[in-house]
Structure formats: structure tokens, C-alpha cells
Symmetry: C2
Subunit: 200 residues, 2 copies
Amino acid sequence: MEEAPQRRGRGKPRDQNLRETILKAAAELLLEKGFKGFTIEEVAARSGASKVTIYRWLNTRGTLALDAYMYAVTDAFAFGQSESPRADIERQLAAVIEKLTRTAAGRAIMELIGGAQEDPQLKRELAARYIQPRRELAGAAFARLFGWDYSANKERLAAITDQVYGAIYNRLLFGLAPLDASFARELVDFWADRYSDGRR
Amino acid sequence: MEEAPQRRGRGKPRDQNLRETILKAAAELLLEKGFKGFTIEEVAARSGASKVTIYRWLNTRGTLALDAYMYAVTDAFAFGQSESPRADIERQLAAVIEKLTRTAAGRAIMELIGGAQEDPQLKRELAARYIQPRRELAGAAFARLFGWDYSANKERLAAITDQVYGAIYNRLLFGLAPLDASFARELVDFWADRYSDGRR
């Protein structure tokens, strides 16, 4: 994962490299063992960092697991910026579905969402660190598809993207089918036909 | 909860009364203590039924908790059959949201969904006993709103209702706002405007 220059500017480069090493080890462990088998001890062992260092940046097991999950999926979940916002969104939805149904990331996020239902702090972190940022990126992509101003339509866009991703996560959480590339296309079609005036 | 006559026909009336007694006690316990504090022992103590009897009908703790949840919410989640399918759906969505956000049923279903992420059997039961039947009822209500034949549009209706209820469950599971009657209206408006040709 590439680091943004302004991020590196905030801490010492050595710290950033260590953080990267910890996150990489944590992501590998999470995808290998799931959230159930995810421990700070094992992240420390795999990264060579001390538990104290890990807790300093990433204060709880749940937060570290969330950051590790995001580290593992952020690139795959990015929206393209081609001339077709519709194709960009369809590709992104298909990539999300592929990642959630065909890789270990699916089990990891299901366990994290599951665990968050009995852990209010994990739920808050899940919303703040994962869902909200992804919701804004998705809202911006749909705003581009519809030709809408993002800020002026933020709530309406959230209601739309919550439906689109809500359908995906619910099929995942309840084991419902179909959850594949054809569903990604169906979801985009509903909304593109509704608001984009034939825009591609 | 009223029993359907064909149901009563299958077992002895005495059995059905006992089943009802067990479910009532189980529902009270689930809403009072949540899924975490839900035990077969306590259901037995509250209902006066033996553990053996409970296991005979309702074989696992998860299944019993699911049946208890449905017993507690089924009436509140029913669709009206007024002359306005749009109003019927809006009222149903508002009732679901009210129940999930303002009563103990919300915590119960969050914990059940959470628990199902580490319990494949509970996940299968959740889908088969709760989600699928509710999905079909919702699909039929939207078919009425759109003037569609339900059977001919089953998959398409599932993609729509998964979005509508997916948005509600995701806001619940991730603690996102707003999740209130205004959101129920917003959700219906999207779809009624899309397909119902101004039908009320």
C-alpha cells in the first residue's frame, strides 16, 4: 500500500515504516485466522514489534483488526475514474462482492460485524473507521454518475448507497444468493436508470 | 399470536398450547436478557416445560431464540392490506424501524445476526426461518405497489427488498443515522417514484 506524502510528513519515517510492518502482519493474521484467532500477541510475534508499541498506535484488538482489514481491502475497494462512472461503480461493486465472497476478507468482516454487535466500542470504530469513509467515497461516485453536487445531496446519496451496499452486506451476512457480478450489474442498473438520464 | 387452523390440525391441541407457552416464555426472556443471557434452562424454568420437551420441538438454543424473536415481532412486522400499497409499505417499514430502534427486539436481532457470523447452523436457520419468509412477504407487498406479478418478478423484487431492508439493517448494525420514520418514507419514495407510475 502506498503512503500518501502528507501522512509521512506527520510522523517520523521510521515510525511510519513500523506502522506499515505492523499493519501488514496484522492483515495477514486476520485473513489467515479470522477475527476469532486474531491476537495482539501474535501480531507482535509476526511483526517483530513489541506489544507496547502496538497498543500505542492501535489501542485495542478490535481497532487493530479493523485497521488490518482496511489495509487488506482498501486498494481493491477503490473506485476507478474512467470516463464512465457507471462502469466504475459496477466494477467496484463486483470487486467488493468478489473480495467478500471469494477471499478470506469476507469471513474477517463478517466476524468483525458480528463481534461489534456485542462490543459497543468496536461498533463505533467500525462505523467511524470503515463504514463512514467508504460511504463517502461511494456517495461521491454515485454523485458523479447522477451529475449531482455531492455536498448538496449528501443525505440522499447516503440513503442510496446504504441500500446498494446494504443489499450486498445483507446477502453476505445471511448467506443469500445470488451475490456475484450479475448482482453488481443489477444494482447499478436500478440506480443508473433512475437518475442518470441515460448517462454512461 | 393466532394459530392457523391447518397448523393446529397437525399436532394435538395440548401440544400446540405447550408450544405457545414455551415460545411466549422464550420471547420474554430473549427481550429481557438478550441472546447472550438466553438459556434453555431459563426458558424451561419460566415455561414450566422440561428441557427434554423444549429440545424435542426446538432443537438448539439458537433455533429457539429465533423462533422466540419471530413470535415477538411477527404481528408488528405484518403488512396492512389497505387501498394504498404505498401507505401499507411505509407503515410496515416505520414499524420495523420503531421495533428495532426503540424496543429490546433490536438488541436481540443484532445479537442473533452477530452470533450467526460464527455459527453456520444459526446463520442457515436465520435465513430459512426469518429472512426468507419476510423477504417473500415484502416482495409481495412491493409487487402490489408496482402492479407486478410476484412470481414472474421474484428475483427482481428480492433485489429491491434486499436494498430497502438491507439499508435498515445496516444502519442498525453499524449504528448509522437517521433510522426513523422519515427514513421509512424516503425509502418508499425512491421505489414508488421509480416503478409505480404515480400509484398510491
